[in-house]
């Protein structure tokens, strides 16, 4: 048997057609049907939205503005430049939003780690947050990939199980909250993808010499797969289009690698109490493969756990000779940097572990000067001149 050149095999894959029998059902009709039967209120996507295509060609509405930010535990907790960059992008594009205090975690990190919860509790937490968003009039935008995937799974379960809806309704009645299901469950990376041309139009830094490798987040496109964004023009429609779409729009050199489907090794329980597994997987199956096959300047991803696993696993692995030394960040931070965001005041890169400084230099950013600028703001806090840094300070 003669071996076909890789290019021939890849060219065949470009004509990839998805099997019809894998097609997911369109959930919208069921969601609206339950509203018609008085079971819940459907929170409509605002008029100001962009329509995109999902994995099996169904249309999904992505709202542009008036968004209720469903924040992420890990982003806010230990990668705060991630959430700050999402807010910053929205502010720079002139879209209004609400950053609520009436929001809890989806609690799915704990659920997938310890199983110390159950379907009724998980669904009640989700619908409490959806109701809180509905009460403000702002539309929910989910920051975390796990929250997004989990909420889609919760929706699937609620649609299929009247007894679960009944149980959750009783809990929400006790809270005095209405049963609300958003018309679409929207991840922030979908918002960035849908608005990538608007973001690229405001780009002030040239990224044409920046090589990136992309890790698509499992819980974004493997959980309820039919509701993730795919585009036939991006990887022939075989991988999700988010993250790659914005990196391409910003002119970056997107480089593929063979283990793109593998997870990051986060493991939920493992990242907290069994990190030897996380570190081994993240290093040998993801980072080293990327390094060898693509040699990126930066790894981009779109979920809390993936940034954590890929960034934090690098330090200790060095002791065993696995020295990949590649910065890791969300595409939100990458897009913000492209639009001129400050690497410390906005992107908060000092919270990251892998060395990002050579990347900043390649982007034309003087990180020493940027750090001095950030330090000057910290000095205002230290001497009591200010209690907090505000958005106005960031723009000053």
């Amino acid at each position: 048997m003669s071996a076909e050149p890789v290019s021939v095999v890849l060219a065949k894959k470009q004509r990839f057609d998805r099997e019809a029998d894998r097609r997911s059902a369109d959930f919208h009709e069921e969601v609206f049907d339950l509203e018609a039967r008085g079971e819940w209120i459907v929170h409509r996507v605002p008029e100001d939205h962009v329509s995109v295509s999902t994995k099996y060609g169904l249309s999904k509405k992505i709202p542009r503005s008036h968004l209720w930010h469903h924040k992420s535990c890990g982003q806010c907790g230990h990668i705060p430049g991630y959430s700050t960059s999402i807010f910053w992008l929205m502010r720079k594009l002139g879209y209004d939003y609400d950053d609520p205090r009436d929001q809890t975690s989806c609690t799915a990190w704990n659920y997938y780690a310890s199983a110390t919860s159950n379907p009724a509790a998980q669904a009640a937490v989700a619908l409490r947050n959806f109701a809180a968003a509905y009460e403000t009039g702002f539309y929910p935008l989910i920051h975390c990939g796990t929250s997004y995937g989990h909420y889609k799974d919760v929706r699937r379960e609620l649609l299929g199980h009247p007894e679960l809806r009944h149980e959750v309704r009783k809990v929400l009645e006790k809270l005095g909250k209405p049963m609300v299901m958003p018309e679409e469950i929207v991840h922030y990376s979908e918002w960035i993808h849908a608005l990538r041309d608007e973001i690229a139009a405001r780009q002030v830094r040239d990224f044409s010499n920046i090589a990136v490798s992309i890790h698509p987040a499992c819980h974004y496109y493997k959980l309820v797969e039919g509701d993730a964004i795919f585009d036939p023009d991006i990887y022939g429609g075989q991988r999700t289009a988010v993250v790659t779409g914005i990196a391409t729009a910003l002119g970056a050199d997107v480089r593929s690698y063979s283990t793109w489907f593998d997870c990051c090794g986060f493991g939920f329980r493992h990242i907290l109490v069994q990190r030897d597994f996380t570190r081994s997987f993240a290093t040998t199956r993801k980072l080293e493969v990327m390094k060898e096959e693509a040699n990126p300047d930066v790894v981009l991803t779109h979920d809390t756990g993936c940034v954590t696993a890929l960034d934090k696993s690098q330090f200790a692995a060095r002791a065993q000779g696995h020295d990949v030394d590649v910065p890791v960040m969300s595409e939100a931070q990458f897009a913000a940097l492209a639009m001129g965001a400050h690497p410390y005041k906005v992107c908060q890169l000092h919270w990251h572990s892998a060395n990002y400084r050579p990347l900043l230099e390649k982007m034309g950013i003087d990180w020493r000067q940027a750090w001095a600028e950030f330090e000057a703001q910290l000095e205002d806090l230290r001497d009591g001149g200010k209690e907090f840094i505000t958005w106005d300070d960031v723009e000053a």
């Binding site: 924040k71 535990c73 806010c76 907790g77 230990h78 959430s83 700050t84 807010f87 910053w88 950053d99 205090r101 009436d102 929001q103 809890t104 975690s105 609690t107 990190w109 704990n110 997938y112 780690a113 199983a115 110390t116 919860s117 159950n118 379907p119 009724a120 009640a124 937490v125 409490r128 995937g149 199980h161 679960l164 149980e167 006790k174 909250k177 493997k222 959980l223 797969e225 489907f261 593998d262 090794g265 986060f266 493991g267 939920f268 329980r269 907290l272 109490v273 597994f277 997987f281 934090k312 330090f315 200790a316 005041k345 906005v346 908060q348 000092h350 910290l378 806090l381 907090f388 840094i389």
Partner: protein
């Protein structure tokens, strides 16, 4: 009453745990199968191995999502019991195994098996969650999971010297974050009091709080006290 070992097995106890009452093993299996999600999670198995090929845990542990799906599909309650003791906590819950061409969800089956293991207070579940209690306390009592003040060098020495920088400068660096909700150190963001009360009600009404009673009695007592006290202050009866 199920028999302990099918007659065609070469070994009297191929799935181990011969001292455990088969009736108990079967009861746990029935609990797994009674979950409303199971009909959507298992349809059979082609034995193609795709789920194993894409499974991160299979690369570093003696773990196979295919064995899980097959044991459940065959209703092999002895093997399911063994897996609840030895395998389920190795799963990464990434759900790469949803790539199954048969439509199975081995990761989802494991979620259900874990819930049963927690509800039953299995010793292996307690062992798997050792060192994890503070996380359960944090998420259930504050509504956010990993707080900034958990980033301590002694807890995360393998994450590099930057962790120490964060912990030393924590208060200052949190105040330097422009979003107003981010100025917290003991929670990921600022959660309102009313929201927390609603969360406590959810944990108590759905039985989620009771679930931890058998795996960590001390933690359960503390959480129950925190929640009941707060709800009492608000005049809310459970």
């Amino acid at each position: 009453m199920p028999t302990a070992t099918p007659a065609h097995y070469k070994n009297d106890s191929p799935a181990g745990f011969p001292d455990v009452d088969p009736g108990y093993k079967h009861r746990l299996f029935e609990q797994v199968m009674a979950d409303h999600r199971m009909p959507d999670y298992i349809y059979g198995c082609y034995e193609c191995g795709i789920c194993v090929a894409v499974c991160p845990s299979a690369r570093f542990y003696d773990f196979s999502p295919r064995r899980i799906a097959q044991a459940v599909a065959r209703q092999d309650f002895e093997l399911v019991f063994q897996q609840m003791q030895e395998d389920i906590w190795e799963c990464s819950q990434c759900f790469s195994c949803l790539r199954c061409p048969r439509g199975n969800n081995p990761g989802g089956i494991i979620t259900v098996m874990r819930e049963v293991a927690i509800n039953e207070g299995l010793a292996t579940a307690k062992q798997a969650l050792e060192g994890y209690s503070r996380i359960i306390y944090k998420i259930m009592s504050t509504g956010t999971q990993v707080s900034p003040d958990m980033l301590q060098p002694d807890a995360f020495p393998d994450w590099g010297p930057e962790v120490k920088d964060v912990s030393v400068n924590l208060d200052l660096w949190r105040r330097a974050l422009p979003p107003e909700t981010h100025h917290t150190t003991s929670t990921g963001w600022s959660v309102s009091e009313r929201t927390l009360i609603e969360l406590y009600l959810i944990w108590m009404q759905t039985g989620a709080l009771s679930m931890i009673k058998d795996v960590d009695e001390g933690l359960h007592m503390i959480l129950e006290e925190v929640m009941e006290e707060r709800l009492e202050e608000e005049g809310i009866e459970i």
